[in-house]
């Protein structure tokens, strides 16, 4: 996939198309019922999470099953920043990334002593310990099951320093230099960070560092006998990817200042694994697509109840309607998990390589050419086309 002589023109195009597609999401998601701030924010945030995860898993092949811990720590750090320092989003994001990076350094240092499934279980164990402690014993720091929330009585030292007016009656909201970070502004904030994150990921993919990581994935033994110390490379990749997760976690808190412990549970770790594989591990835009698809299902498909179906199929005669609605109802609304499960199976059975592979096939079908050189443009195409 690395094309040495490829002029960076293509990458520039890719970034531009990607940025345009992300910023235009409110437009093109509207017909799909996906245009509302919360979902758009989730797309961007989980996109960041998945892109970061892909730097570890896609490049090095190390499957971490504990990335949710970094997401959670990012959230907690951000909410504490809101509580103690200021409602401004910037310090929250910085703290989220830093603390997640710190935790990633510790967990990575220990877990990277092992490879393969042993590594996966070590990361899983660390994350589950974090989750269980956050849920119970660490409640003074995490507020347990309910999740860490803002309170009017929080110190917010910096905010108090710079404003002398009395606090407003309600809770303050997160802001970026006066702009409230919920709703569409929050989305654009996340989107900009997503684009930056994507750009960094692209640069890593195209850098000698990225090449080394791919080398580790391909043949760790040869890497060692090539004179390369694989541990620091791995640890760096792990920390970077943990920092992406921390960024995503802090953005979750920025757009909605509540940090719950279940963000760290293994199911959350599993979700990002599924997103990445579903979209296409090791591809640039795949994880982002996977994240979008899963979040779309979770938020939109789960909302199709019988009354919605009745409306959607109201063009059918009543007798048909009576059959169609319950049957379709099995797969949407409370049955949305079933559809998701089926989707996982169908995609992995028919499209090894994930969604990106699917788009590539479609693209190749139409151009009836295909080959390595087209990879990048195909990916760019995917972005625009989705």
């Amino acid at each position: 996939m690395t094309n040495m002589k490829k002029p960076s023109f293509n990458d520039t195009m890719l970034i531009l198309v990607f940025a345009a597609a992300i910023l235009a999401m409110p437009l093109w998601l509207d017909p799909f019922g996906g245009n509302y701030p919360d979902l758009l924010q989730k797309f961007a945030i989980y996109g960041i999470f998945a892109i970061g995860f892909n730097i570890l898993f896609g490049l090095t092949g190390y499957l971490s099953f504990g990335h949710a811990a970094f997401l959670g720590v990012g959230s907690y750090a951000a909410v504490w920043s809101f509580k103690l320092l200021t409602m401004n989003a910037i310090p929250a994001v910085i703290f989220g990334v830093l603390f997640a990076g710190l935790l990633a350094a510790i967990i990575g240092f220990l877990s990277l002593r092992r490879t393969g499934i042993y590594f996966s279980i070590l990361t899983l164990a660390f994350a589950q310990m974090s989750y269980n402690l956050a849920y119970s014993v660490l409640t003074p720091i995490t507020n347990g099951e309910t999740g860490l929330q803002l309170a009017r009585s929080d110190p917010r030292i910096l905010d108090k320093l710079f404003s002398d007016g009395p606090a407003s009656a309600g809770l303050p909201s997160t802001e970026l230099f006066g702009e409230t970070m919920s709703g569409y502004p929050g989305f654009y904030f996340c989107a900009v960070l997503l684009i930056i994150g994507f750009y960094i990921s692209l640069r890593i993919f195209r850098s000698p560092f990225g090449l080394m990581l791919k080398g580790i994935k391909s043949n760790q033994n040869r890497m060692k006998y090539t004179g390369l110390n694989t541990r620091p490379y791995m640890l760096t990749a792990f920390i970077i990817s943990g920092m992406y997760a921390g960024l995503a976690g802090s953005l979750l808190a920025v757009t909605d200042p509540l940090a719950g412990a279940e963000r760290m549970q293994w199911t959350a770790s599993g979700e990002v694994v599924l997103m990445t594989i579903l979209g296409g591990a090791g591809t640039l835009v795949g994880p982002m697509l996977g994240a979008g698809l899963i979040k779309y299902f979770e938020n939109i498909f789960s909302s199709f109840d019988d009354s919605v179906l009745q409306q959607a199929f109201s063009f059918l005669p009543d007798s048909v309607l009576e059959i169609v609605v319950p049957v379709v109802g099995l797969f949407v609304g409370s049955g949305w998990h079933l559809t998701l499960g089926l989707l996982f199976m169908i995609i992995v059975i028919f499209l090894p390589g994930g969604l990106v592979e699917g788009f590539r096939r479609i693209f190749n079908y139409f151009t009836s050419g295909g080959g390595k050189a087209e990879t990048q443009s195909v990916e760019a195409h995917n972005q625009a086309g989705e």
């Binding site: 690395t2 040495m4 960076s8 850098s207 000698p208 080394m212 043949n219 060692k224 390369l228």
Partner: protein, 252 residues
């Protein structure tokens, strides 16, 4: 010839009571090609693995150019100038030949770890030129953008050799470089090894094929049942009755 550069002193290694190497002493001169021969199960591969740090000997030590190799990490040993070609080629199957060779090129230029995350691969002109040059040397330049996994076994071996050569090692360890090759490929490999001989690096070769040994080696040591039973220039080893008895006599 030159000074002794590789020393194996009193190496003992046993696996669960079974002695694989007993009291092996071996000294290799700089710039020579030293072949280690011996019947199957004589401990040749074990010896090589001890040299490269993959196995830790029970006693004894390996010294290379004044540095003790025993107990060091593989990447440290490699950075000291020791490279190895494996019996089954260890290459990056999913990557292009060019990438396969570029990775060791970075290792040679930047050492065991340098992040380089802010650089673009496409801007690494000199590394690429070097890689292409090496690929030309081993005769694979035409295929440099194909995936390494699709190569024939002989080509894979040559690729691996190229990956080692770009490291500019002082010592190259080769584990049966022609094993499982057709005669044509074997000859090509011999030619290649002869060509690189002129570069003045020290080589230790483990080999079954006597044709290869006698075309390349300056010195030969014979290993049988974990012990060195004979050594010297090829001609004298060939005529050593002990060797004939233990190895050549039995085999031919």
């Amino acid at each position: 010839m030159g000074d002794l550069v590789l020393h194996l002193d009193n190496i003992n290694k046993s696996f669960g009571g079974l002695s694989a190497l007993s009291d092996v002493n071996l000294h290799v001169e700089e710039g020579t090609t030293h072949a280690i021969i011996g019947p199957n199960g004589a401990g040749k591969s074990t010896l090589l693995n001890v040299c490269i740090g993959r196995l830790k000997p029970d006693t004894g030590k390996v010294t290379f150019a004044g540095e003790v190799l025993t107990g060091r990490e593989p990447h440290e040993i490699t950075q000291l100038g020791v490279a190895r070609v494996f019996q089954t080629p260890e290459i990056f199957q999913e990557m292009t030949l060019l990438e396969n060779v570029m990775i060791p090129a970075f290792s040679h230029r930047d050492g065991a770890f340098r992040l380089n995350a802010n650089k673009l691969l496409s801007k690494q002109g000199e590394i690429r030129d070097e890689a292409e040059h090496i690929l030309e040397d081993v005769g694979l330049k035409d295929m440099m953008l194909t995936e390494a996994g699709s190569l024939s076994r002989g080509d894979k071996r040559r690729l691996e050799l190229g990956m080692c050569l770009i490291l500019r090692p002082r010592l190259l360890l080769l584990d049966e470089p022609t094993a499982g090759m057709a005669r044509h490929d074997t000859n090509q490999t011999i030619e290649l090894l002869k060509k690189i001989k002129s570069r003045g690096m020290t080589k230790v070769i483990i080999e079954h094929d006597m044709h290869v040994v006698f075309s390349l080696a300056d010195k030969v040591s014979v290993l049988a049942r974990g012990q060195i039973i004979a050594g010297g220039d090829p001609q004298s080893v060939r005529e050593d009755p002990k060797v004939k008895e233990a190895y050549l006599g039995g085999a031919h």
